[in-house]
């Protein structure tokens, strides 16, 4: 058709225009905002941003601050445990339930409810459930185990695990539902074939099923990981960083320096470090994961 080309061209144009609002806002806000923060992290801004550059002073100070080191350690512990445990628990539960369950939609809704709650509410609920006088410790003692001790929120060496429990509660249901959906997609014949060949169940899972669940794993990682980096509300609601500074996290450090410590430069430096850390982990991985499909 003779008119095919101009129409195609016109469509391409409108397509570009249709995407512009989104790309523009993303560009201005994310790239612009991030760049601004990075630039001002090299200044000695206190209460207000001032373009008075002092080189790497803020970073030096940052890495000499105990609270920042504690924050990083906490984020590492929380992040690694969160990823590993939510995957293992989610997968094991999903494998146990890989069959038609009665009232399935309702079941999945209930499992997903924690994920639909704000971290603030989750933090408050678990602050209470982990309270030694009314929560888990008290219930277990009531069952007869009188010396049982479980008081993570008041013990600075394990408080981050108390936060982790709340995080796991919120996120594991999601991983489980995702994996359950993935398991459903696996052909019945594969199980039969594996059984005929006499392959043990765990081997079938490990070598055949898990590799097939790759897309589900990726979705889960992206969702869980983006929650880990941003962990802030949960800590604020559950422990407020305490006892002392033992459950501080980087996002809270940044926030406190920017708005309460009135030391903007320090806050910017800390948030730049966070950006850098995320970029170092995400960018190579993302290109390996998604980039190859692009060409393939």
């Amino acid at each position: 058709m003779a008119s095919g080309r101009p129409i195609q061209l016109f469509r391409n144009m409108t397509a570009k225009i249709a995407a512009i609002p989104m790309i523009l806002t993303a560009l201005v806000i994310f790239v612009g905002g991030t760049a601004w923060t990075v630039v001002y992290s090299f200044t000695n801004s206190k209460l207000l941003p001032r373009a008075n550059f002092v080189g790497l002073d803020q970073y030096e100070r940052l890495w000499n601050t105990n609270r920042w080191i504690v924050s990083i350690e906490n984020l590492l512990i929380y992040g690694i445990c969160m990823l590993v445990l939510s995957f293992i628990i989610g997968f094991v539960l999903a494998a146990l339930m890989d069959q038609k369950i009665r009232f399935e939609n309702t079941f999945r809704t209930i499992i997903l409810y924690p994920f639909a709650l704000s971290f603030i509410v989750t933090g408050l609920i678990w602050q209470w459930l982990l309270n030694p006088d009314f929560g888990v410790q008290n219930v277990v003692r009531g069952l007869g185990w009188v010396s049982f001790e479980f008081d993570p929120l008041n013990n600075s060496s394990i408080v981050i695990y108390g936060v982790l429990i709340a995080g796991l509660w919120q996120g594991t249901g999601l991983v489980m539902v995702l994996m359950l959906a993935g398991l459903r997609g696996i052909d019945q014949e594969i199980w039969k074939a594996a059984r005929v060949d006499g392959i043990p169940m765990w081997k079938t899972y490990l070598y055949i099923v898990v590799p097939m669940l790759r897309p589900v794993f990726i979705t889960s990682i992206v969702i869980i990981a983006s929650g880990i980096v941003r962990v802030y509300d949960l800590v604020v609601a559950q422990t407020a960083g305490g006892p002392g500074i033992s459950s501080e996290v980087p996002a809270k450090y940044v926030y406190d320096y920017m708005f309460q410590g009135q030391n903007l430069g320090q806050g910017f430096a800390a948030s730049t470090m966070m950006l850098l850390a995320v970029a170092i982990v995400i960018i190579p991985w993302a290109y390996l994961e998604f980039g190859s499909r692009n060409r393939g």
Binding site: A18, A116, F119, V236
Partner: protein, 276 residues
């Protein structure tokens, strides 16, 4: 397709499944139950499960102390507004990515998604400055825009995956019949994508409803939503568990109810479209 198992295992598995489900649901249930107890009953030892004097006094006190309806209304406006605005911006973008892809479409999508992984604190201060300059601090309009922007990558991504499943030939046929671009998107594409759009809407609404980082930092008295309402109860009310539970229940009830009546969309939305 689920694995074939014996009836006996089926029963066992169903029992395990519901046991796990109840265990996960228990903290929420306990919070709701506690909100109907008196303060003394809330901390009684051993804990009271169902047999206590049900009372509404906590709700009355919470309502009297802080105007729940105002927070609720702010939440509805902010979450609803940002969802609608997000859809208006995202539908054309997702349409262009799904049906008129260019060589860079995948890159743009990937880059957009990666912004979702970045810590929000990185752009907090610039946005704070812009808000002051434009007089948007502590306004619902400002929050609508920010939360829309924060969730935009996810909306576009989800819509894109749904749109891609719609055969392009149908849109082409509509075009042959003389449908313009506006009609094509509004009357052909959108109706076919309704289930996907509904899930996207619900997910975005929940994300916006729960957004605490931005709402706590950019609002004060007039435009604070329910996240701020519940956060205000966390410290001073630390030892009044019945009231705290009432406030929590009031904050989460709308989501629980909404989710209950749209279970299918909720599951699909919360799993980011991974569960069909």
């Amino acid at each position: 397709m689920a694995r074939a198992v014996t009836t006996q295992r089926k029963v066992t598995n169903t029992v395990i499944a519901w046991g796990v489900g109840l265990l996960i649901f228990f903290p929420i249930l306990w919070t709701i139950l506690t909100s109907f107890k008196t303060e003394a009953q809330a901390i009684s030892d051993p804990p009271l499960f169902l047999f206590f004097d049900w009372t509404l006094e906590n709700y009355a006190i919470v309502q009297e102390r802080s105007d729940y309806m105002r927070f609720l209304w702010n939440s509805v406006i902010i979450a609803g507004g940002s969802t609608v605005l997000g859809l208006v911006v995202a539908v054309p973008a997702a349409w262009s990515m799904a049906f008129v892809p260019s060589r860079r479409t995948k890159d743009v999508l990937l880059w957009m998604l990666s912004t979702k992984m970045l810590p929000a604190v990185g752009v907090l201060y610039p946005i704070y400055l812009i808000f002051i300059r434009l007089g948007l601090l502590d306004t619902r309009g400002g929050l609508v825009i920010v939360i829309m922007l924060i969730n935009l990558p996810i909306i576009v991504w989800m819509l894109y995956t749904y749109f891609r499943e719609i055969p392009g030939e149908i849109l082409e046929a509509a075009r042959m019949d003389g449908a313009g671009l506006r009609e094509e998107i509004l009357y052909v594409l959108t109706p076919m994508a309704v289930p996907g759009i509904a899930s996207t809407l619900l997910l975005n609404f929940i994300l916006a409803w729960n957004e605490a980082f931005w709402t706590l930092n950019l609002t004060a008295a007039t435009s604070a939503p329910l996240t701020a309402f519940i956060a205000s109860y966390s410290s001073p009310e630390g030892l009044f568990y019945a009231k705290l539970s009432a406030a929590s229940t009031m904050a989460i009830a709308p989501i629980l109810v909404l989710g209950w009546f749209s279970q299918k969309q909720l599951v699909r939305g919360l799993t980011f479209g991974a569960v069909k």
